[in-house]
Structures are given as structure tokens and as C-alpha cells.
């Protein structure tokens, strides 16, 4: 049976209390908090995190396609899916494609994945979605929006949730948009876009998927729909015949915010985490129309290896101290330029060294067994030449050997950089920056994990590499 065989999610470490935004502008707070991507994160790095969570313990050679959906691609021209696939260490002969330009892009990618697996053209397909949309300063959306990512793996065998039906509605309307030159999301007159857009189209979409699958509203265990505000999703749900109290999933606005393209998949992941065999889930998305899917949870859900998902990433967090910090993380403030980098990147070197830089491969000497990162052709321990096997370290856990809290190394608006030396269990040593941490709590022996981040913008392209961070689930790895 075709369906979801694995899932993963990612929520950035930082949150901003909406009261801080409201206070900065002297207006009312929409309450709760929103997630905020760190200044070294973007949709690609968040997508990598979610993809990695989804692929935990799985054989990556079996993945044949990767689809990535976002409306905030770091590159206007250059494939994000391909980069994410490389960082996730997928094979070279995968099919990779980006989906974008609409908040339905992730469900579009999901539909394409389901159809492609159904058509038999491919093996497992990884669908990843990540978004970090910018709203106008002071607008409601600045408070409503959040940053996040999710991933689902689609396949034929051992699905944890099989697809029952999927429908789409196409609805041409200018309600939420960005032109090719727009930095911020625009929204039309609020009564118009809510009534003729979201409320009308979601109702139509939900009714259609129930009708096509011939399932009564009461037979749905959970309804998963993103919502532009606290109330509208409940309004739609009750109109279609669901009980919002018992059937409607928390739209995660109070805890995370609306994470754009990624949001429907994040809701789906959250529901799957809490589901039991036999549950029926209805997930829908909104954006220039609607997509809806009904999934049935199987016994396989009980066998799924533990992962972080929404549940753990939601709990692991730190509050940004100020609205100013949020503005600087979002690139809204022009800050004093720091010292220039002494070493200038080269696209050729970046391409040539991608096994180390992107795939996080080190070398393990076949003669003496010593490991080192990045890849060294001549062993630093026994000097054997070209006698090594590549080892991927992205999922390994290390322990801090030494560190320094450098006050000169960072950006002018975020100057502190924790430089860290840590050893993996096999002895491979890493010397990386630490991110998502409270520098006051760093100490020798601290367990750390790797995270893929944007390092700098040298040579006019995004230079991504790995950093370390304290374990996001407070020590207990799962």
C-alpha cells in the first residue's frame, strides 16, 4: 500500500514572545510565541534538519527522488532539492525537483510523490518542505508567521499511513502574494480574502475529499489544517461537520506560528506522532486553492524508530531577548560590516570538496584505523597515501574537548562565536563553531551534535557547512 513510510520535522531553537513584537510597536499582542530561524539558518538548512530527522536509521540508497517545497528558496536560480539531497548523502542518480511559489507547494510535492510511486516509476520519494517568510514589520503576519520544516518519505512498503484519497481545488484569487520584487508577503483586504479565499475554498476542499472517499466527517480522527488566525480553522471545521473541540488539531499558531509551505506537513507529522493504528487523518493546505488528503494509520506506526519530530523540537527552545534581535536575525537591519574574511571561497573548491563540506565525510585510514575530518589523502597518523574509506559524521555525537567564546569572530550584530573542538566516539576530531547555544553553559565533556548551517556569503553565493550544537533534546538522544 502506498503511503507515508517515515516522517521528520524541524523547529528552530529560538522563539520570540509575541508580546515583545507588540510592545515594540505599541499595539496588541496576538499572544503566544513564534519560532525564529537563527541567522545561520534558511529554508535549505531547515529542510536538511527535517529530512535528516525523517531518514533516521534508514538506508539512504533506497531514496530515488527528492522534492523540496518552499516559497523562500535561498537561490532564485539554483536547485535547493539537489543541495539538500547531497547534504543528506543521497545517491547521485536521484531525481530532484523544487516546488515553489504557493503555500500549496508542499502538498503539490506530496501529491507528485504519491502519484509517482503509484505509477511505479520510482522507489522511495522524500518530500521536504521548509519556509521562513518575511512579513511587514508591525503587521499581524509578523506575529503570526513562524519558521519551520517537515519531511515525509513516500513508499510502497510498510507504510505507517496509507493514502486513501487526495483532491485539489484550483482557485484564482489575489489574496496573499509577493511579486518578483517583493521582500514581504502582501495580503489583500482582510474580509475579502478571508471570506472568498480561505473560508470558502477550505470548505469546498474538505467537502470534496470527504465525498470522494465516501467518509463521514465523524469518521475522521484528526483534521489538520493550517489557519491564518486562531479562529478561522475552527469555523471551517464546524461548517463541514467536524467537532472542532475533539477533531481539529491545534494549528500550532500559539507555539510556533504559521510556517508557510511547511505548515501542513508539520501538522501531519505532529498528528502521526500521536496517532494509533486505525486512525484516519485528514490534512489540507491552502494557497490559490486547496489540496486535501486522507490517510489511514497502520500497525507500522508502532514500529517506527524514535525521532525528534514536532514533539521534541517544540520543547527544546530558547527565547530571544528582544525584538531587535529578531529583526537582525531576519536581515531587517543593516549592521556594521565586520572584519572581512581572510580566505576567499571559490566555487571550484566548494564543488571539489563537497564530500567533506556538504556530505560531512571524513576519512578513516584502512591501515591504522584512525579517523579524521575533513577527508585527508595522506593519513596524519601513519602517512598511508590514499588508503582510506569515507565515513559520514553528520549523525554522530561528539564530546567537547576544548572551546573558546570568541567576541571578535561573529557578525557585528551577533559577535559572540563559540569555537569548539570535540571528538567523535571513533576519535575523529572536529573544530567547528557552536550554534543554538547558551555560551555560559558550554564546558568540557558537553555532548554535541552536528547541524548544517550557512557560514557566510563570500563570493556572492551561500557557503554552507556544518556547525555543532548542544543536543536539542536535552541529553536524551532518540
Amino acid at each position: 500500500m502506498i503511503g507515508i513510510t517515515s516522517f521528520g520535522a524541524y523547529i528552530p531553537f529560538y522563539r520570540l514572545d509575541r508580546d515583545l513584537i507588540a510592545k515594540a510597536w505599541g499595539r496588541s499582542s496576538l499572544k503566544g510565541e513564534r519560532s525564529v530561524a537563527n541567522n545561520d539558518e534558511d529554508s535549505i538548512t531547515m529542510g536538511v534538519e527535517a529530512g535528516s530527522d525523517c531518514l533516521k536509521g534508514l538506508d539512504r540508497k533506497e531514496i530515488k527522488n527528492i522534492f523540496f517545497a518552499t516559497t523562500t528558496a535561498p537561490y532564485r536560480e539554483k536547485l535547493s532539492a539537489g543541495l539538500i539531497g547531497t547534504v543528506l548523502d543521497l545517491e547521485r542518480d536521484i531525481f530532484s525537483a523544487d516546488f515553489g511559489n504557493s503555500l500549496r507547494a508542499a502538498t503539490g510535492a506530496l501529491r507528485a510523490a504519491l502519484d509517482s510511486v503509484k505509477a511505479g516509476s520510482s522507489g522511495k520519494t522524500l518530500v521536504v518542505a521548509g519556509d521562513c517568510r518575511l512579513a511587514y514589520p508591525r503587521s499581524d503576519n509578523e506575529q503570526w508567521f513562524g519558521d519551520g520544516a517537515a519531511a515525509v518519505l513516500i513508499g510502497k512498503d510498510r507504510a505507517i499511513a496509507t493514502i486513501v484519497s487526495s483532491v485539489s481545488i484550483n482557485n484564482e484569487i489575489v489574496d496573499i502574494w509577493r511579486t518578483d520584487g517583493d521582500k514581504y508577503v502582501r495580503a489583500g483586504e482582510s474580509r475579502f480574502i478571508l471570506n472568498e479565499g480561505y473560508l470558502a475554498v477550505m470548505e469546498e476542499t474538505l467537502r470534496k475529499v470527504l465525498a470522494e472517499s465516501n467518509i463521514a466527517p465523524t469518521a475522521i480522527t484528526k483534521v489538520l489544517i493550517p489557519s491564518p488566525d486562531y479562529r478561522s480553522c475552527a469555523q471551517v471545521a464546524s461548517k463541514v461537520g467536524f467537532n472542532p473541540e475533539t477533531q481539529l488539531a491545534d494549528p500550532m499558531l500559539a507555539s510556533v506560528g504559521h510556517c508557510g509551505v511547511a505548515h501542513p506537513l508539520m501538522l501531519l507529522v505532529s498528528a502521526l506522532e500521536n496517532s494509533k493504528p486505525g486512525d484516519t487523518l485528514l490534512m489540507a493546505s491552502y494557497g490559490d486553492g486547496g489540496d486535501a488528503f486522507i490517510f489511514r494509520v497502520t500497525e507500522e506506526v508502532l514500529k517506527l524508530a524514535p525521532r525528534r519530530g514536532i514533539c521534541k523540537y517544540l520543547k527544546s527552545k530558547s527565547s530571544l531577548p528582544s525584538y531587535n534581535r529578531f529583526l537582525s536575525y531576519k536581515g531587517e537591519l543593516e549592521t556594521a560590516p565586520g572584519e572581512p574574511f581572510r580566505l576567499f571561497p571559490s566555487a571550484a573548491a566548494y564543488w571539489r570538496d563537497q564530500h567533506s563540506i556538504l556530505r560531512c565525510h571524513g576519512s578513516r585510514c584502512k591501515k591504522c584505523g584512525k579517523s579524521i575530518f575533513p577527508i585527508h589523502r595522506v593519513c596524519l597518523s601513519c602517512r598511508s597515501k590514499d588508503e582510506y574509506e569515507e565515513v559520514r559524521y553528520a549523525e554522530h555525537i561528539g564530546k567537547v574537548v576544548s572551546y573558546t567564546i570568541d567576541q571578535l569572530a561573529g557578525r557585528s550584530d551577533d559577535p559572540v562565536v563559540v569555537q569548539t573542538v570535540f571528538d567523535m566516539e571513533d576519535g575523529a576530531r572536529f573544530y567547528l563553531m557552536m550554534t543554538d547555544c547558551d555560551s555560559r553553559t558550554v564546558k568540557g565533556g558537553l555532548p554535541v551534535e552536528l547541524t548544517f548551517r550557512k557560514i557566510h556569503e563570500g563570493a556572492d553565493f551561500h557557503n554552507y557547512f556544518w556547525k555543532c550544537r548542544p543536543l536539542r533534546d536535552g541529553g536524551e538522544l532518540s
Binding site: 574574511f341 581572510r342 569572530a409 569555537q419
Partner: protein, 395 residues
């Protein structure tokens, strides 16, 4: 390896004023040190047969050799530049010594010159080492702060004890530098001031770090047979040691960050050539690479000045002060001169040269009974070390 002990001698040296020399360029700094050396040695520009230049950041266009030729009008002789980070000055000196020992030339100039303050920013910048991606945002204080964190943990020093221990090194060097007219910083500091200073790269504070300065220093070398025809008190080279470890030496499994192969190997080679068995007893004065206070501490142990893990005892007892058993950084070191990268090795050697001649600029800081002096630079993330040992008589 063949020894060159006592085969070459320094017959003249010069050293510019170090500091924020906004008013002069690299060429002017070279002229300032080289014309002092010409006068000191009693030679003229035409006597120089070859020149070795140590410079890290060569501008314009990365051609330091020709720029030095242009300023000094040392035309149509071989001028060879090396850029080995902080050891560049020492390597220029050692290359000059080797060329003279090989009998190629009689009179050779070794010069280090660096104009850091024209770069437009106060530090050495971020991005060190081998890759723009792997090592981005690493700074010099960040690279060396790592030694302090690890050393304190390994030897069970509380953060307060550790900070006070390395702070005393900064206090010592500032006291010495206050008596040195050519130093950039000449202020005496207290331990309290060191401990209260802002953090640069934890646990290193402002006074644990050396400054960035402009400067130049140089030496004129000849063979030992001819040395006395230039002056009565030439200074002989007793030995040298050079060690270049891999750029990512710290990636070596088990490397523990409190001791460095390149420090141990370079000092050992120099001791062997100079015939030194017990450096703590036989070295009378040393100028070592105090780019950060913790670096000087690590050097004490790797050079055999202090027993492993026991540097604190020697620091507390004042063993390395002007009045101690082995005075270190008698001119104030990098701490007070600042660190114009390629110039520092020769500036340190200038101090040893003057002290061995009994000609320290202020009598108050002249060390009594000095026969053997050592100068040393240590650079990179760090992984390059250069040591030279000198004496004021043969044998």
C-alpha cells in the same frame, strides 16, 4: 643534520619603533631598521650580497621582496621572501644564516617588516588556516583561547586561578616593556586590571592578548671568521630549530591542546645544535612568542623551562622576571611591542643581541651575566615554530 654552530655571526641589527605608525609605510619601516643596522655593523648598502625577507601580508600584489628592494634600493641582488605566519622573521634570519654558512655570501641582510595598520581593521581578521569554509570565523584569540580552557581543565585550575596565573605573565611583560623605548605599549599594569579587563575570547581578556602594530627589525649576518673585522662583540648563532606541523595539527587524534609537537621539536633541535642539555639552567635570557599570555605558559613547559604542569609554580615565584632565574621577554614581548607578524622574530632577536652585548637601551633592564639567549616565534592555528639560540662568545 649538519650543525652550523658558531659558523655565522650577527654583526649589526636594527629595529624600528613599533606601534601604530600611521605616518609611515612598509618601506619607511624597512629604512628605519636597516639604516640602524648598517651603522651598527659599519657596512654600506653595496656590501649586502643577498637579502631574506619575512613578511606575511605583502602589499601591493603580494610581492614583498621587490618592495623591499625598491625602498632600500637593494637592486640586482637575490631577495627572497617567506611567509610563514608568525615565524616569517625567524625564517628569514635562519635562511640568511644557512646561506652564509654554505659559503655563498659574506654579508647578508635578514629583515622582517609588516605594515598591519594599513589593512583598515584592528585584528588579524577572521578566517585562518586552510579553507574558507572549514575554518571561517576563526580568529587568533579564538585559536589560542582554546589552549587556556583545556590547560585549566587538565591541571584542575579553577577559572580564577587560571586567569590569575596567565595574568601574571601579562603583568611581567608590561613591566619589562615600560622600560623599553621602542615598545608600542609602555604602561605598567596590575593583576587586578588584567582580571577586570573585557573578554576577547574567553577565557582570554584584553591584557592576555598582544596588540596589532607596525614594525620592522633586521640583522646583518656574516661568517664567524670575518665577524671580528666588523666589530669586537659580534653575536654568534649557536643553533636553530624549525618545525612546521600540518595545518590541522589539532585534528590529530589525541592531540590535547596544552602541548605542541612543533614547540617540542623546534626547541629540541635548537638545543641539540647549540649543545644545550638543560635549558632551564643554561639559557640566560629568552624572548618567546607571547602572542597571548597562555601561549607563553605553554612554551615554558614545551621548551623545558618549567616541568610539565608546573609552570604556575615558576610564574608565582617570579622565575621568569628580570630578576629571576630565567628572564623571559625582557623587552616586554609581543605583549608590549605588538605583533607585526613578519617582523617579530627579528625584533625578539634584536633584544637578545643587545642583551648579549650588554647594550640594553636602558641599563635598568640589562640582565647581568648573560651568555646564552634564545628567541622564538610560534604561528598559525598554531603549528609553526622557529627557535634560534645565540651566544656572545664561540664555543
Amino acid at each position: 643534520m649538519k650543525t652550523i654552530k658558531d659558523e655565522v655571526a650577527i654583526i649589526g641589527m636594527g629595529c624600528s619603533k613599533f606601534g601604530e605608525r600611521w605616518d609611515v609605510g612598509a618601506g619607511d619601516l624597512a629604512i628605519e631598521s636597516v639604516y640602524e643596522a648598517y651603522q651598527d655593523a659599519g657596512v654600506e648598502p653595496k656590501d649586502i650580497e643577498a637579502c631574506y625577507v619575512g613578511q606575511m601580508y605583502a602589499s601591493p600584489n603580494g610581492i614583498a621582496g621587490s618592495s623591499v628592494a625598491d625602498a632600500l634600493k637593494l637592486t640586482n641582488i637575490p631577495i627572497i621572501r617567506n611567509e610563514n605566519w608568525c615565524t616569517s622573521g625567524h625564517i628569514a634570519l635562519i635562511e640568511a644564516a644557512i646561506a652564509v654558512a654554505a659559503g655563498l655570501y659574506d654579508t647578508v641582510l635578514a629583515i622582517g617588516v609588516e605594515k598591519l595598520k594599513d589593512t583598515g581593521y584592528p585584528g588579524l581578521g577572521t578566517g585562518r588556516g586552510m579553507s574558507p569554509v572549514y575554518e571561517a570565523r576563526r580568529t587568533a584569540p579564538g585559536s589560542f583561547g582554546m589552549i587556556a580552557t583545556r590547560y585549566f581543565e587538565k591541571y584542575n585550575l579553577s577559572m580564577d586561578e587560571g586567569k590569575a596565573t596567565i595574568g601574571k605573565i601579562a603583568v611581567k611583560n608590561h613591566r619589562n616593556g615600560s622600560m623599553c623605548p621602542k615598545a608600542h605599549f609602555r604602561n605598567v599594569i596590575t593583576l587586578e586590571k588584567v582580571l577586570k579587563a573585557p573578554i576577547v575570547a574567553y577565557p582570554l581578556g584584553l591584557f592576555d592578548c598582544c596588540g596589532n602594530s607596525d614594525g620592522s627589525a633586521c640583522a646583518i649576518i656574516t661568517n664567524s671568521k670575518m665577524a671580528k673585522s666588523f666589530r669586537d662583540d659580534p653575536i654568534y648563532m649557536k643553533g636553530f630549530g624549525l618545525s612546521m606541523d600540518a595545518v590541522l595539527t589539532h585534528m590529530r587524534p589525541g592531540f590535547d591542546w596544552t602541548s605542541f609537537e612543533s614547540l617540542k621539536v623546534s626547541s629540541q633541535k635548537a638545543y641539540e645544535m647549540a649543545g644545550i642539555k638543560n635549558p632551564r639552567e643554561e639559557i640566560d635570557i629568552a624572548e618567546v612568542h607571547d602572542c597571548f599570555s597562555i601561549t607563553e605558559l605553554a612554551i615554558y613547559e614545551d621548551f623545558g623551562f618549567s616541568a610539565r604542569g608546573k609552570a604556575k609554580e615558576d610564574i608565582d615565584s617570579g622565575f621568569f622576571s628580570l630578576e629571576g632565574g630565567l628572564p623571559v621577554n625582557t623587552d616586554g614581548g609581543l605583549k608590549c611591542f605588538g605583533h607585526p607578524v613578519g617582523a617579530s622574530g627579528l625584533r625578539m632577536t634584536y633584544e637578545i643581541y643587545k642583551q648579549l652585548q650588554g647594550k640594553a637601551d636602558l641599563p635598568a633592564r640589562q640582565i647581568k651575566n648573560v651568555h646564552r639567549g634564545l628567541s622564538h616565534t610560534f604561528g598559525g592555528p598554531p603549528q609553526l615554530s622557529a627557535v634560534a639560540i645565540f651566544g656572545n662568545e664561540k664555543g
